[in-house]
Amino acid sequence: MPAVSKGDGMRGLAVFISDIRNCKSKEAEIKRINKELANIRSKFKGDKALDGYSKKKYVCKLLFIFLLGHDIDFGHMEAVNLLSSNKYTEKQIGYLFISVLVNSNSELIRLINNAIKNDLASRNPTFMCLALHCIANVGSREMGEAFAADIPRILVAGDSMDSVKQSAALCLLRLYKASPDLVPMGEWTARVVHLLNDQHMGVVTAAVSLITCLCKKNPDDFKTCISLAVSRLSRIVSSASTDLQDYTYYFVPAPWLSVKLLRLLQCYPPPEDAAVKGRLVECLETVLNKAQEPPKSKKVQHSNAKNAILFETISLIIHYDSEPNLLVRACNQLGQFLQHRETNLRYLALESMCTLASSEFSHEAVKTHIDTVINALKTERDVSVRQRAADLLYAMCDRSNAKQIVSEMLRYLETADYAIREEIVLKVAILAEKYAVDYSWYVDTILNLIRIAGDYVSEEVWYRVLQIVTNRDDVQGYAAKTVFEALQAPACHENMVKVGGYILGEFGNLIAGDPRSSPPVQFSLLHSKFHLCSVATRALLLSTYIKFINLFPETKATIQAVLRAGSQLRNADVELQQRAVEYLTLSSVASTDVLATVLEEMPPFPERESSILAKLKRKKGPGAGSALDDGRRDPSSNDINGGVEPTPSTVSTPSPSADLLGLRAAPPPAAPPASAGAGNLLVDVFDGPAAQPSLGPTPEEAFLSELEPPAPESPMALLADPAPAADPGPEDIGPPIPEADELLNKFVCKNNGVLFENQLLQIGVKSEFRQNLGRMYLFYGNKTSVQFQNFSPTVVHPGDLQTQLAVQTKRVAAQVDGGAQVQQVLNIECLRDFLTPPLLSVRFRYGGTPQALTLKLPVTINKFFQPTEMAAQDFFQRWKQLSLPQQEAQKIFKANHPMDAEVTKAKLLGFGSALLDNVDPNPENFVGAGIIQTKALQVGCLLRLEPNAQAQMYRLTLRTSKEPVSRHLCELLAQQF
């Protein structure tokens, strides 16, 4: 670019700026600016034309005033005039003013675009560059629209100067980032790739940036860039530091370009061509070798540039994840950095190693650095580095070193920063569970965790302990003993009390034999903590007490006294009061048998992915997921505990109490007589049946809800959590069988029947729905005489269905004898409207060959239909309210079945809507209404079916308050006639 000659310096501008700088106060500054503005205004207004120099000077002053924070509302025209000047400095100032001050909706934009167009068309490279810079700086949509087509042409034109090409590439990149849709893809894309071969390094650098951005969108279009990038990279890497002259930075040849090329390569999988691959591997090796060489300079810039390339190389190696040799070398290189003086290098090394740990090839190599990392966790001064160390420890953990890592993390937890404590707690909890061989170790670890960092132990963590203890017979006794001991500490955390209360309530009997932990001792120990706890914990403890009455009848009198105490019976908190009242009554009226049934030990929880993991993922964001999931890729560590591994007890048939624990609002078919009795009694207690309905839940329901474990801390809360991630992912199950849709259609209007049948297996369905809840019984009949092995039916939610529908399955036996039938109960809750039905995947082994079958579960949105009766008048009023075009769905179709009014009526009723007579003036037509009940919302729905017997056609019109629902229902129903 032409240098600014001395004569071009603007004296007036310099004087003005120094005046402003010398102003003593804000007021003085404003006065000076007002004066200058008036001066400029009078100059611009003046009749005689200004010469280019003064125009430039005044525009410059205006720009300066604007940048000081004052509004400028004139001078744009003068700036635009400057654009057409032939002098570089004048043009430059004009463009500067425009890129800072002109907003896109200005009326001047046409003039500006014209000037830019002229400059782009000129042969003068500096002018072209200025114009390109202006386009990039403004970068608005309008600019994009005007020039997006021209710039690629300039970029690939054979006669463009290097500097112009460079600017054009960067300008295009800017426009592409701002509005990708405006940049047309075309034949130029192929030629852009060849810019990688350009002589000029600046052009190559700019082009790589552009290509990297473009290829993320259309990787296939730019595939050819791989080989070019590799050859370019190898030329740079192998060149001596003096070869590239201007592009050598502190003895490192073209570091920026190298880094960008490496990044570009990370957009693609490893090259398939062996020659290219060989050359790339050679490059990567050279980079790794160079890292070992002694530095050519002591300057920090030299090592920074070198390390930048190295780290990018390592991330490429990790990205490819296919060269064991390179991975191990990268790991060793990072290992050296772990003890480097530079904190930043240590941080980067820990971070990169975290990803390396997830590769099967380098996992072992990473593990060798465990001591260094543990040391880093303890001694690093910077909290962010410590955090990375903790991440790495988590990532490198496997069966062999779990105990060491968990104990180190626990030790660190005592001194850890508050900011990362919760995360470490979660990590410890997950690792302890995942790699626990010995569950007593697991229980110890978690209790330690609560002891050390009780405040940071989230609910999920201690829910999980309870789940695991409940599901494993072998640790129950040990757990009871350990919590009992832990509770003896003079001050223990509330979470400990919760865990203790629950475990002792369930398994206290296992340690009752020891006189040191006899029932009264257990009770008094728990009760000594009672007064220090929050309401939620107290509620839990009250439930524990009633369980004690069942477990240890000898404590009944003491506990009843406690429940009867005024502080409980008349507690200000209604939850505690209700519990005290109901438990007291229950303990006094129910016989021991009833009590034993009601307060039976909790059934095992279904195996599922730990909710802690989900929480950790939420906490870290999606990016961290890969590192956290590393266990899946690590062959030595998978499926120790996470897999489907039913314990013997889980196969037992559901006990009545388990049923009681089912859905609260569902009809309690298996409710023991005691509950009804107690319900009546409750009515008595509440003095007068008339008052009873107003008390909220009906006595039965109240009682049922009462018998659930205390709501806030109950494992039921876990079950309600709609994240059954332990289900095999959708990729594990095959696509639904071709007939699945047809089979599903059969069930749109009916609830019972045979869902599927082949020569091996028959699946029958019986279902009932009420409001947004449903219960489905699936009967699996083995039609052969051979036993099915590993029989496992699972329900899968494709897409985001799990946020819409909660399906809770009961486990079935893994073997189905020949000719036998097993039953599976599904509890279904509709959370919000959904379109696709859940999938039922059945897998089993028949005579040694694995069989898999995927069906659509006959749960469609209309199952949650509640018929609504209404008068004609109401109907039409509502019909009119739903008059938006998107609320209506209409379909005209040919009848597939004979048109029989009675059959149609039955189908409509089966569909779920109420049939309204005397609404439609034409008696041939059918009109229905209903409400779809979901947990989140209710969708009102009106339908009208007009049969046309002559044409054998139907017209079906549906109006609901939600558009997708209208369309979906319309399609479902149309297939029925």
Partner: protein, 459 residues
Amino acid sequence: MIGGLFIYNHKGEVLISRVYRDDIGSQAADSAVFSSSGPFLGERLGGSVRNAVDAFRVNVIHARQQVRSPVTNIARTSFFHVKRSNIWLAAVTKQNVNAAMVFEFLYKMCDVMAAYFGKISEENIKNNFVLIYELLDEILDFGYPQNSETGALKTFITQQGIKSQHQTKEEQSQITSQVTGQIGWRREGIKYRRNELFLDVLESVNLLMSPQGQVLSAHVSGRVVMKSYLSGMPECKFGMNDKIVIEKQGKGTADETSKSGKQSIAIDDCTFHQCVRLSKFDSERSISFIPPDGEFELMRYRTTKDIILPFRVIPLVREVGRTKLEVKVVIKSNFKPSLLAQKIEVRIPTPLNTSGVQVICMKGKAKYKASENAIVWKIKRMAGMKESQISAEIELLPTNDKKKWARPPISMNFEVPFAPSGLKVRYLKVFEPKLNYSDHDVIKWVRYIGRSGIYETRC
């Protein structure tokens, strides 16, 4: 209860810092991040107080938007400030103080400083900072204002260096007994050869008028300032044409009521110097006092009724197209032709996109001041019942800004030799029972000055 007092220069550097209570500071500045403090802070300030100091600087002096409220709350700490040219005085407190009291104190503080070293400027404050600390020690005790009477202060805080060698014990004890005595504002034994007395009635008249000449709001705030050079302990009695007093007296003679009814004025509210016996004012509505020696402000008052508006401004603004504006302003003087108004200045705001101005005026000088975005028209003198006119052509630069010009009001400054409120001094009697001079021997001077306050006319 003022917690502390800071004086800043325009850069926000602390010139004077005096902390009376420990409660300020600690939390005051948690809200913001602060850079290093000014060079005059020294080591005297603890970290917590520095926070308060910095909080004010960051949030008020250097605030992005100009702070208009004189009271600023930062982190539950209140900052009361007044500004004198480039100097900021800020009183800081964490308690719920009487804000009017704090401002009264700050104004008094300014008066005291002005009485000691003239203009309040950075230079003067730096040169007198020992004196200022001495004054602050005296006039504020644990955050409670004390005697701030300049005359009394000057008896024991002097600028002439150490005088104690010459001062006898009696003199010192005399000062003590005077300052702590009943009449703290005057010492005994003052002797003048000529007993003289000056009385100034200073009024400022505020007005907002609609373009059509309708008075939207008008009030006069006035002060009676007295300069007394009287011997001994004279008892003075001041009388004016207060409506209540006149009517009370007029009850006896009905004709007098009708005669003087027009001349009496209704005073909305008034405040007095501490020397005035308020009990007597309450019971008899007579103003009697023993004056301090030298200059003091006897009373302050405000009136809103029957105000004589000395000038009337008649604006005429015409927009000719988008690029031209014609302004014609006529001022009319509205008082006795024998009186002369002085220092008349009319300020006509111009639009922000003014590119040129041509002015023609019959009288005085007019100039377009670009730095203030206004045409300033100055007239030295103007007699009553006259009128004068200015016309201006303003050229505008077309802008792409669609906003219309807001047309700020035309403002005016002047000085007239009468009281626009109509206040008249009826008498000022002096009694000195001990010394042998009577009311007639005292030479009395009375002067009325009416000035413009905010005197604006919309256009």
